[in-house]
């Protein structure tokens, strides 16, 4: 029982890092994705194609590779090791966490951007025409009429991505971010206890359940206004 509590506390500490990575990724990726979506649907051709090419590259390569690029490439190719950047104050753990966060934000922003773009393009043209007839400005049209419908449209695919993000955070362990999985494998390597590795599943499941419940609630709330 004593070990169980000790292990739980140690894993909870790691899970704190997992959650920090999760929430900060969402916080930065969602606005960035909105920007990406606008660029990808832009009428300025070069911007549109550049954005789509970037999204293609990010979506076409593994997040694991992107993590390695962020953490190792600055030092190898540009002689500017990530851990020695002034903004991180020479703190290795902080630099790795920020590096991983950057990779997660860019990666998820690209996936979110495609969902947002789909959500916006799915709104029938008639809605814009109706707004124009009523004399609404472009920003009034977007914020008062279109946006809520977009949110409803993208809720289901977004919940999919967000639940995936919960589990993808485990990849950060490959670049020395001590999240829950790293904490569990450390217990295994140092104290040779195996079960914490499986026990991490309880944390992920619990948190995914919470995320799923929140999305279901949001969906129910929004569906009140239609049908």
């Amino acid at each position: 029982m004593e070990t169980f509590i000790k292990v739980t506390l140690q894993l909870a500490g790691g899970f704190g890092t997992t959650l920090a990575l999760f929430f900060l990724t969402l916080l930065f990726a969602i606005p960035l994705a909105l920007l990406f979506a606008v660029f990808a649907g832009s009428s300025i051709k070069p911007l549109k194609y550049l954005m789509r090419a970037f999204i293609y590259i990010i979506r076409g390569t593994p997040l694991l590779l992107q993590l390695m690029i962020v953490v190792y490439l600055p030092g190898i190719a540009f002689n500017a090791p990530l851990t020695k950047w002034q903004i991180f104050g020479g703190n290795v753990a902080t630099s790795y966490f920020c590096g991983a966060l950057f990779a997660f934000v860019v990666n998820y922003a690209c996936y979110f951007a495609e969902i947002f773009r789909g959500g916006i393009e799915n709104i029938p043209k008639g809605q814009y025409e109706a707004c124009a007839v009523l004399g609404m400005t472009r920003s009034q049209t977007f914020f008062r009429v279109i946006l809520l419908q977009v949110i409803r449209n993208i809720l289901a695919p977004m919940s999919n991505e967000v639940v995936t993000l919960v589990k993808d955070t485990a990849l950060a362990r490959t670049v020395s971010v001590v999240e829950i999985f790293f904490a569990a494998s450390e217990l295994l390597r140092v104290q040779f206890i195996i079960w914490p590795l499986f026990y991490t599943g309880v944390f992920y499941l619990g948190f995914s359940a919470l995320v799923t419940l929140l999305f279901n609630m949001a969906e129910k709330k929004l569906s009140k206004y239609w049908k």
Binding site: A93, L188, R189, A209
Partner: protein, 273 residues
């Protein structure tokens, strides 16, 4: 509907915690591990690719000190040696679940590990050493010069213990790496100033390929440990393999393999301990 969902959720959580609980229980080896392996006709040996112990040569054949050593031992026992690449993090699980029969891959003997496996007679010394970028050769000459360096080692490894137990290194900024290979990669990228890894691995990698700019700082002594083969707790294979090792030490065949991989020094150090 909502209630049912919550009930299902609770049930799945319970199952999972039960599973986790089971995995925590201790397993006992079957009556005779030796008979079990003999009947299979082969011994499944858990390895990771790691020069100079187990690695693929330019023809794609698995070779290395541990590879040749294991093949020689298995031949004497009249069984086949089958090498299985494993994830080093889960080697204890692989061994307990009988996916593999032993871990034979530069495995360091530690007191903590004794709770999870039985060790054979040690056959090589596992010296730890400090590796740096050659550009810093004038900066890091002895252990005192490392006192404010950014350092790393594999989490849970002998190198980590060496850093944490050295009083001169009490104020270094230490970060654990997921593996020795990761530590080398990060050192090469300049993310660390120095790392502590196994001497065998350092010797095989420094100056090779993209690591041509890495070097061992020879005059920094680090704690030395021993390599042995790990079998399941209570396995009678340990005794049988120990017999063969004794023979191979006596007839010089083990030394011949050590010579071939330039490990003579570490082999003799292990014999003397």
């Amino acid at each position: 509907m909502k209630k049912r969902f919550i009930a299902a959720l609770a049930a799945s959580m319970l199952t999972l915690s039960a599973l986790a609980g089971c995995a925590g229980g201790t397993e006992t080896a079957s009556d005779s591990d030796y008979e079990y392996i003999k009947n299979n006709g082969k011994m499944v040996i858990g390895i990771t690719e790691y020069q100079p112990m187990n690695y693929y040569d330019e023809n794609g054949t698995l070779t290395g000190f541990d590879t040749e050593f294991a093949q020689a031992v298995c031949e004497k026992l009249g069984i086949q040696a089958e090498f299985q690449i494993i994830d080093w993090d889960t080697k204890e699980t692989e061994l307990k679940s009988s996916n593999i029969d032993c871990i034979w891959n530069g495995l360091t003997v530690t007191e903590e590990r004794r709770g999870n496996m039985d060790f054979t007679t040690p056959y090589l010394a596992n010296k730890q050493c400090v590796v740096i970028n050659s550009a810093d050769a004038d900066k890091y000459t002895d252990i005192a010069s490392l006192s404010s360096a950014l350092m790393s080692a594999e989490s849970g490894s002998a190198g980590e213990t060496a850093i944490q137990s050295a009083t001169e290194l009490a104020s270094v900024s230490y970060t654990a790496s997921a593996s020795q290979a990761d530590a080398l990669l990060a050192l090469n990228a300049g993310n660390y100033d120095a790392i502590v890894i196994d001497y065998t691995m350092a010797k095989a990698s420094c100056g090779q390929g993209d690591y041509s700019n890495l070097m061992i700082v020879e005059n920094i002594p680090m704690a030395s440990e021993l390599y042995a083969i790990g079998f399941r707790t209570g396995s009678d294979m340990t005794g049988h393999v120990n017999e063969v090792i004794k023979e191979m030490v006596a007839d010089g065949s083990l030394k011949a393999i050590a010579d071939k991989y330039e490990l003579t020094e570490l082999y003799e150090e292990a014999l003397n301990q």
